[in-house]
């Protein structure tokens, strides 16, 4: 016996354009967690729109960040970075980040250093609604000494091995204003299927006050509901959905498009100077109106080259009864 069809699926769409979403969900001074999927599914198109809309004084949050943070820093959008690693995941250093810290070009940013795990725990604590997470990492390091959100504590329970109080580290919960998350597919309410390494994606959506989903593809709610274990972000947490093919380029989106290694090596070579970065920014960000324009700039041949060469489908899974 079936009682009813989905009463909410056909209404309440929060699908919008990237320019609308960034205008709606960010302002100068926003704190934003991005790149929570690590080297995969980095929301580059959202970062480019932040640059086009000339957002300023942003706090960027993420374990690693790849060159997305470097681009926002070079464009002068950033006041502060809370991260474990800022660079080019393929090539090492990122030059805008170095110029900003070392020379104040285009502006001096504040860097609050975490480790990856400390960042994961800071977002996990916020996702769980507790003020901190205890850890065993970072004891004795200068990271712990220099980051006010990391402290040493003692376990309130006695140790099994010794009677002395057990030393631990603790990281304070981090609540970003906004999480920007790339998904392979989502419905118009924001429920998102993501696959591959999930990094800190789920916790970043729950830690943040608001969430923007950028999806390669919009699907019917029935597709999402056909596989609820694939849902990494449920729609009720989401404030806007943007659909943009190749939104994560040059990072990969498993099963959708591959990593554009060439783009990383070119970025590394072309942004050694600030003027070099300004040229790069003009070409890839300012002179394109949106992700469709960016795809045209990449060109059909390159998009084809990056597309999936050989599909590999997940084994059949039956949710029936």
């Amino acid at each position: 016996m079936t009682i009813t069809s989905n009463p909410s699926s056909s209404t309440n769409s929060i699908l919008m354009s990237m320019s609308e979403a960034i205008a709606k969900l960010t302002c100068d001074g926003s704190s934003i967690v991005m790149g929570s999927g690590m080297e995969q599914n980095i929301p580059f198109s959202a970062g480019h729109e932040l640059i086009r809309q000339r957002r300023r004084e942003l706090t960027l949050i993420g374990p690693i960040s790849d060159i997305l943070f470097d681009q926002l820093i070079g464009a002068g959008c950033v006041k502060k970075v809370c991260a474990a690693w800022v660079g080019n995941v393929m090539m090492g250093s990122a030059y805008n980040f170095r110029r900003s810290v070392e020379q104040g070009v285009p502006n001096k940013i504040e860097v609050v250093d975490y480790s990856n795990f400390a960042m994961a725990c800071a977002l996990h604590a916020a996702a769980l609604g507790i003020p901190y997470m205890p850890m065993r990492s970072l004891l004795g390091t200068d990271i712990l000494k220099n980051n006010p959100n990391l402290i040493e504590i003692e376990s309130p329970f006695e140790s099994h091995e010794s009677q002395a109080p057990e030393k631990l580290s603790a990281v304070r919960a981090l609540h970003p204003d906004l999480a920007i998350i790339h998904a392979q597919r989502a419905d118009v309410h924001g429920s998102a299927h993501i696959w591959g390494g999930l990094g800190v994606v789920a916790d970043s959506a729950k830690a943040a006050k608001r969430t923007l989903i950028v999806a390669d593809e919009i699907v019917e709610t029935s597709v999402i509901e056909s596989d609820p274990n694939r849902t990494v972000v449920p729609g009720f947490l989401v404030d806007a959905v943007v659909c943009e093919p190749y939104a994560a380029h040059p990072s990969p989106s498993q099963g959708k498009y591959n990593r554009d290694h060439q783009h990383y090596t070119e970025y590394h070579a072309e942004t050694k100077t600030h003027d070099g970065f300004l040229d790069w920014k003009k070409r890839w960000i300012l002179d394109v109106p949106d992700r469709a324009g960016y795809r045209r700039l990449l060109g059909d041949a390159r998009l084809l080259d990056l597309s999936v060469g050989e599909s590999a489908y997940a084994a059949e899974t039956d949710f029936g009864y």
């Binding site: 009682i3 009463p7 909410s8 699926s9 609604g129 609820p228 449920p234 009720f236």
Partner: protein, 276 residues
């Protein structure tokens, strides 16, 4: 969370006439409780559903007046659409099929703790006048005690949801002045107690029994009778309550199930497993 025992067991043979509509419609006390519980859910709210009668109450609300309510189940399910069949437990296959998200308990419990849950449903062996619940031990008249199944997630929901609704069979034994074991926190010993112990939000909103509906909006955070079920006498209700009942004047008669509500309940639970 789990109702410690089937709250409707004692009311299986009682039927009432629905006199608010033109048609005379009979309904059971269990149906009246389910409908009363369903009406506590507002549209767009996040609902920690729990087990037993609330499983059905959530289906009613989703299908009738709260189509955008989101259901949390502590086994790790989140539903934005209602299950398509009667559920005996939250882990039943019809509740998994078509869920919005299926994951760990920590996912839903974490969001409960972070304040994303608007309303949670609770049952218990005992509820006292401050809405504290006992689902661990209850004392019998002869001095022996009964071991109940335990908190399940009830204590977590009572601690962390923005408000809670309780469903309990109405009897003097079930509604003592103070619970003998505090499994799930209501308002403790009154105003300010929750904050003083470290609970930053929430507390009991409503207690639905087999005789009436109580609301916890008094100055001292105790239960006040908001409505009495049809055909229940005030004296009978007071006799079966372990504390001096305070009444919100004018005392209402509990709104009986509408035809739509009854039709839906009977469509979902045709064999009356929950609503006999």
């Amino acid at each position: 969370m789990f109702l410690a025992a089937k709250a409707h067991q004692s009311c299986s043979s009682v039927c009432h006439k629905n006199v608010t509509t033109e048609l005379t419609t009979e309904y059971t006390l269990a149906e009246l409780m389910v409908v009363s519980a369903a009406r506590e859910i507002k549209d767009h709210e996040v609902v920690y559903v729990g087990m037993r009668l609330p499983l059905l109450a959530f289906l009613i609300a989703k299908n009738l007046h709260a189509p955008n309510a989101v259901g949390f189940y502590e086994n790790g399910l989140i539903r934005e659409t209602p299950a398509s069949e009667l559920l005996f437990t939250m882990g039943d296959p019809p509740n998994i099929l078509g869920a919005t998200q299926a994951g760990d308990m920590l996912n839903v419990m974490g969001m409960l703790q972070s304040g994303r849950v608007d309303i949670g449903f609770l049952g218990a062996g005992e509820v006292d006048k401050f809405g504290n619940l006992n689902s661990t031990f209850v004392s019998k008249g002869d001095g022996s005690s009964v071991r109940l199944p335990g908190s399940g997630g009830a204590s977590d929901i009572a601690s962390l949801a923005k408000r809670t609704v309780m469903l309990v069979e109405h009897s003097k034994r079930r509604l003592p002045e103070r619970v003998s074991y505090l499994t799930s926190p209501g308002n403790g010993d009154g105003k300010g107690w929750r904050k003083s112990v470290g609970l930053h939000r929430g507390g009991p909103s409503c207690l639905i029994t087999t005789m009436g509906v109580f609301r916890f909006d008094s100055d001292d955070c105790s239960a006040r009778l908001e409505s009495i079920h049809p055909e229940v006498a005030s004296k009978q209700l007071q006799d079966e309550t372990g504390w001096q009942v305070e009444i919100t004047e004018p005392l209402q008669s509990t709104t009986v199930p509408s035809q739509d509500e009854l039709a839906l309940i009977r469509k979902i639970d045709p064999k009356r497993f929950w609503t006999a």
